[in-house]
């Protein structure tokens, strides 16, 4: 009887050919929303990145100061540059294409840069004083050689216009305007450069001054003023000042939008009034669209919107005498609508997006060149503004694609009326986020309770009924069975999760992340399904430039509710899974708040608000928080508060105040995370002795910097008594560089830039970014629990029975390491029980990454200047090395570039090994980390298929062999006898 060799081969062939390859989970467990921010109407355009390239890219400089190029076909970001620094710009930026060249020019803040349009690499950049007010590419007369020059207008107390040479960005000439004028705009046609500025006269309101300059020399050739007769009350009232075109114009509307005043630049004193026709009530918004190309015809469109409908008028400018006459009008259509302009050589097209169709008009006549029915999801809201590219395909056929910003803050590309892609740009600029557990299904629990309480018979009937009722789910269950089976066997996530279904999973990976953005929107993201948007809505729309200042998100997982509170006293309560708003109070309905805290009180947990002066309000006695409070005061000091009963109310009383020395300013205070469990209270050394951890939950780490002395001091405070437990001062610190800190368990870390000059007494000199890690122990002696010994309780107010005894101070072991780049934010991973070691998560702003540094590297007990003893080796510590290289393997973002990360939050999964990470800011990034490796879950490398195959092969072998063996045995008995 032979072994079935074939069977063996079959079994072996199921096994994977290579078992040694470590299957990475990169790009499977993590997700990234690569965002730009909301595109602005005057800084978005289609442009060909190369002169002879057919396909164009969609460029934008967003409200967040992100310059990006998007592939209009796919909606994927081709390249991005974050232009705004830390102090997120409130000033708008400017972006212009250089027609006929492979570059785009941006200006934001005080800098002007040129970028390669295809790759996004910088070609030149220049920084000036003042703030950029306008940017224009200077059209040169046909046939002239060399790169096109750039005109940049700055506000330096007076308007300063600079002509920057193309190719290098050097200043060719500079013109300073009248001191006190406010720079508005620069425009140019081929012959002249027009500088529009304004000055405020108390009687006449704003007066516009137009200065005409010679483009070659920058000398003033003439100047005239336009009196607005008080029609302009603020600079926002200037509706439009035209850019590069054959006939640049300036326009403003009078009060009440009755007339539009237009001046063709260069025609002194000729203000023409164009009547604005009301449509369905008062006009609310008037915009002017004019071409940006010199060779385009001098036509422009006035788009008037009212609350209900919108209409438009097209005007032609007579270049000879500068007169403006109406050519035709676009009829009124309901809805907001959006009109955008695009020009191709001399042709100017107007594309009108209304609620149900897309229509393209030529500027010459009112004939419709193309019309497409609009297929647009209503949930995206109505149009805010659009950017359009019109391509003439044949003599009469046109193709049109428009990038539209909607009121729901999506950026949608509509190609010939159909939606091609949508980018959730409203998600950018997140200011607060919180994890929310999915509420467990409670119906089963309720049913079981009912059955437990009733008598046996009725419970039995109830159960039978329940099971019969459950039968309705059977078809679904059976349908789902193959998918579940396959998804558990097949490697990878080949079988996609059902989108849009929020089901709590047994591993606890499925959670909702509630994100609040600076534009006042709320988003619910499904962390278990690649961060897909589950719900979103605008909670509190913000006016231009203002940022929604969210102070706290309080998630009640048991109820499935989240409360979002912001600075102006507004708050909203939403359902975490659906986004359904339960309650909303507008700004001003409550007192202005500085911060919030989630406190426990006799009547349950609630969100306490701290007023601007650092004091909470009086609270009724049944809602008095258990315990003390630590708040930041007005002058930046740190205060300890306690609620004292006063009648039926309780009012806060200051128990201590911590003020640093006069030259120091408190910049940051961090506390231990709310969920910070500690599995082991000691650290076992190599010789089996124990160093006991200093585990005081009431500690905060205060960062105070001194600009004069260039020092950074870190104070560890006991928040009950206000005592300083530990402090460390670092000298030679660049206080302008980011200083980040984190505090957890029994250790804290911070990073800074320091230039330590060597002296004989101190360390050798070093210069660069440092990360300093300190561990706190109860005693420096092993097996010793310090002065408190084994007492079960500890009190910071009365540490021992001896009166006026001093607080037990921690024994602190510190090590510092040099790191290659600045760490802008620090956070710590969180797991369910704290058995897994914590990972320090650092945001690296300059390389656009988040790194997870393992604790073993950051161990301050690493032996310095010698190899570890065998006992130390057993403990797992290795020789100290002063430099930590940021190994790319430690980057949890892998090759993804995440920009503008403000904060990283961590939440435990049900699996002890895993921590959910969510980073937000301009970009959204989320992942799962397992700092001690995924020890409680089968990895992707575990081949379930081969396991099942082996079992099946064995079973088949037994089934085949059993009859053969039986027959052989029977034959053997019969034949020998």
């Amino acid at each position: 009887m032979r072994l079935p060799i074939n069977l063996l081969f079959l079994t072996l062939s199921i096994l994977p050919s290579t078992l040694a390859v470590f299957v990475d989970e990169a790009y499977i467990v993590d997700y990234h929303h690569e965002l730009l921010g909301l595109s602005q109407p005057h800084t978005s355009f289609f442009h060909r990145p190369r002169k002879n390239e057919k396909a164009s890219l969609l460029y934008t400089l967003s409200d967040l100061g992100v310059l990006g190029a998007v592939n209009p076909g796919l909606g994927k970001v081709v390249w991005r540059q974050l232009l705004a620094g830390d102090d997120a710009v409130s000033e708008p930026g400017f972006l212009r294409p250089i027609e006929g060249e492979d570059a785009v020019v941006s200006a934001i803040g005080s800098r002007v840069d040129a970028w390669d349009a295809m790759s996004g690499r910088a070609t030149w950049g220049n920084v000036f004083e003042g703030v950029v007010k306008d940017l224009e590419v200077m059209e040169t007369a046909a046939g002239s050689e060399g790169a096109k020059a750039v005109l940049a207008l700055f506000d330096e107390g007076k308007p300063v216009l600079r002509k920057l040479k193309g190719g290098s960005g050097d200043v060719a000439w500079e013109y300073a305007g009248v001191s006190g004028d406010i720079a508005l705009q620069v425009s140019t046609n081929v012959q002249n450069v027009f500088l529009v500025s304004t000055y405020y006269g108390s009687k006449a309101g704003f007066t516009l001054r137009v200065t005409i300059l010679d483009p070659v020399t920058g000398k003033k050739s003439s100047e005239y003023t336009l009196s607005t007769k008080g029609e302009i009350e603020s600079l926002e009232d200037v509706v439009f000042v035209g850019a590069n075109s054959a006939a640049p114009i300036i326009a403003w509307a009078d009060q009440g939008y009755k007339n539009l005043r237009v001046n063709v630049l260069g025609k002194s004193g000729a203000i023409q009034s164009l009547p604005l026709t009301e449509s369905d009530g008062k006009l609310t918004e008037v915009t002017v669209h004019a071409p940006h190309l010199v060779q385009s015809q001098a036509h422009f469109l006035v788009h008037s919107r009212s609350a209900l409908s919108n209409r438009a008028d097209v005007y032609h400018v007579d270049l000879a005498n500068g007169s403006v006459k109406k050519a035709y009008e676009l009829p009124k259509v309901p809805g907001r609508g959006s009109i955008s302009i695009s020009s191709q050589d001399a042709n100017v097209y107007f594309t009108r997006l209304s609620d149900d169709e897309v229509a393209v008009y030529s500027s010459v006549s009112h004939g419709v060149l193309g019309r497409w029915p609009l297929n647009f999801e209503a949930q995206r809201g109505s149009f805010v503004h659009s950017t359009t590219e019109v391509v003439q395909k044949g003599t009469d056929t046109y193709a049109v694609r428009s990038a539209v910003v909607t009121t729901e803050q999506d950026w949608v590309l509509i190609r010939n009326g159909a939606e091609a892609w949508a980018r959730p740009e409203g998600l950018s600029g997140a200011v607060a986020a919180a994890f929310a557990d999915l509420p467990e299904s409670e119906s089963l629990v309720k049913n079981l309770e009912v059955e437990a309480e009733s008598n046996a018979l009725s419970a039995y009937i109830h159960r039978v009924n329940r099971h019969v009722a459950d039968l309705q789910y059977l078809p679904n269950y059976l349908q789902d069975l193959p998918r579940r089976f396959l998804s558990s066997i097949l490697p990878g996530e080949i079988i996609a999760q059902k989108a849009g279904v929020l089901v709590p999973d047994s591993f606890g990976f499925n959670k909702v992340v509630i994100v609040a953005t600076q534009r006042g929107r709320l988003y619910g993201l499904d962390a278990g399904n690649h961060g897909s948007i589950v719900w979103s809505w605008t909670a509190f729309p913000q006016e231009n430039g203002k940022k929604w200042d969210v102070k706290g998100i309080f998630v009640e997982s048991s109820k499935g509710l989240a409360t979002i509170r912001a600075a102006d006293g507004e708050y909203t309560v939403v359902k975490t899974t659906t986004g359904e708003r339960i309650e909303t109070m507008p700004p001003g309905s409550g007192p202005t708040i500085r911060s919030t805290a989630i406190v426990d009180s006799p009547s349950g947990k609630w969100m306490l608000t701290i007023g601007v002066n650092g004091n909470p309000e009086d609270v009724p006695s049944e809602r008095v928080p258990k315990g003390h409070l630590v708040v930041k005061g007005d002058a930046g000091e740190v205060k300890g508060l306690k609620f004292m009963p006063r009648g039926s109310q309780s009012s806060p009383v200051i128990t201590w105040t911590f003020t640093p020395p006069t030259d120091q300013v408190i910049t940051n205070v961090v506390s231990r995370p709310a969920h910070d469990p500690v599995a082991s209270i000691g650290r076992v050394l190599g010789d089996r002795t124990v160093l006991y951890k200093y585990l005081n939950p009431n500690v905060v780490l205060v960062t105070a910097i001194s600009n004069e002395k260039s020092t950074a001091t870190f104070y560890l405070l006991d928040t009950i008594s206000g005592d300083i437990l530990y402090s460390a001062t670092h000298e030679g610190v660049d206080t302008k560089q980011p200083i980040a800190s984190a505090l957890t368990e029994n250790w804290f870390s911070y990073s800074l830039w320091a230039d330590i000059i060597s002296t004989s007494a101190t360390l050798p000199s070093s210069k660069g970014y440092q990360i300093i890690v300190s561990e706190m122990y109860e005693s420096d002696v092993a097996n010793d629990r310090g002065p408190l010994e084994s007492t079960a309780n500890s009190s910071s107010l009365e540490p021992s029975d001896i009166p006026n005894a001093e607080l037990a101070l921690p024994h602190v072991i510190t090590a510092s390491f040099l790191v290659p780049e600045a760490i802008s934010h620090m956070s710590v991973s969180a797991t369910r029980q704290g058995i897994t070691t914590r990972q320090l998560l650092c945001t690296l702003e300059s390389s656009g990454a988040i790194i997870g540094i393992p604790r073993t590297i950051l161990d301050p007990r690493r032996p310095v200047g010698r190899d570890p003893t065998p006992a130390e080796q057993e403990e797992g510590i290795f020789r100290y090395h002063p430099v930590i290289e940021f190994d790319p393997k430690m980057l949890i973002t892998h090759k993804r570039e995440v920009i503008g990360i403000k904060d990283i939050i961590a939440s435990p999964a049900v699996l002890e090994s895993t921590s959910l990470i969510f980073a937000y800011g301009i970009d959204i990034f989320g992942t799962r980390v397992a700092p001690s490796a995924a020890f409680d879950i089968l990895g992707k490398g575990f081949n379930k298929l081969s396991l099942v195959g082996t079992v099946a092969a064995l079973w088949a072998g037994v089934v085949i062999l059993a009859p053969m063996v039986r027959r052989k045995q029977i034959n053997g008995r019969w034949m020998t006898s």
């Binding site: 911060s595 919030t596 805290a597 989630i598 406190v599 306490l608 701290i610 909470p616 928080p625 258990k626 315990g627 003390h628 409070l629 630590v630 708040v631 930041k632 300890g640 205070v669 506390s671 500690v678 082991s680 209270i681 000691g682 076992v684 050394l685 010789d687 089996r688 002795t689 124990v690 585990l695 005081n696 939950p697 009431n698 905060v700 928040t719 009950i720 092993a782 097996n783 408190l788 084994s790 007492t791 079960a792 309780n793 500890s794 009190s795 910071s796 107010l797």
Partner: protein, 184 residues
């Protein structure tokens, strides 16, 4: 009728055998032993003539038993150096060989201790029972010594909860009496 012929010589020789050698003074030649021709009676008499091994007395038996008992009692300690060397050689890591060593190091002494009375049962007699107590005590001591070697080994392997770290899991963090909630 003629008279019968005289009996032949062989008959005469048969009827009158030669005089027994013992009756002769002629000594046997060297190397000759009479056994070949010896009669059974002689042999039998020689056997009964050597009753040198008389049955030992009870005192003698007791002494003998005690000696044997001592041997049994000291047997475990004789293995000890060998066991110690093997344990030392096998190292302190947890592996098949050292685990088996440890199991044997515990099993043998424990079994021996449990079978103390059986081991000395055959040496027990009214005369020895008193002095056997000391022997048993020695035997127990030796087994405990062997057990101690096992314990030493287990300790060397770090399996004894003798250090503070072994009890760390039962120690709890101090309960803070006050709680401060950070609100920044």
């Amino acid at each position: 009728m003629s008279p019968p012929p005289p009996p032949s010589q062989w008959v005469e020789e048969l009827n009158s055998p030669p005089v027994s050698r013992s009756k002769l003074t002629i000594p046997d030649p060297p190397g000759y032993t009479a056994a070949s021709s010896g009669n059974k009676k002689q042999i039998a008499s020689s056997k009964t003539q050597t009753p040198a091994r008389t049955a030992p007395t009870t005192e003698e038996m007791d002494t003998l038993k005690l000696k044997k008992a001592w041997e049994v009692a000291l047997a475990p300690v004789k293995q000890l150096p060998m066991t110690a060397i093997m344990m030392y050689m096998s190292g302190n890591s947890l592996q098949m060989f050292s685990i088996m060593m440890v199991v044997m190091a515990f099993k043998n002494p424990l079994m021996g201790l449990m079978a103390t009375n059986q081991a000395f049962e055959k040496f027990n007699s009214p005369g020895t029972s008193a002095s056997l107590l000391a022997v048993k005590a020695t035997y127990v001591a030796m087994q405990i010594l062997a057990l101690a070697l096992g314990v030493w080994k287990v300790n060397g392997m770090g399996l004894l909860p003798t250090t503070q770290s072994d009890w760390l899991a039962w120690e709890t963090a101090r309960d803070p009496m006050e709680i401060a909630i950070p609100a920044f």
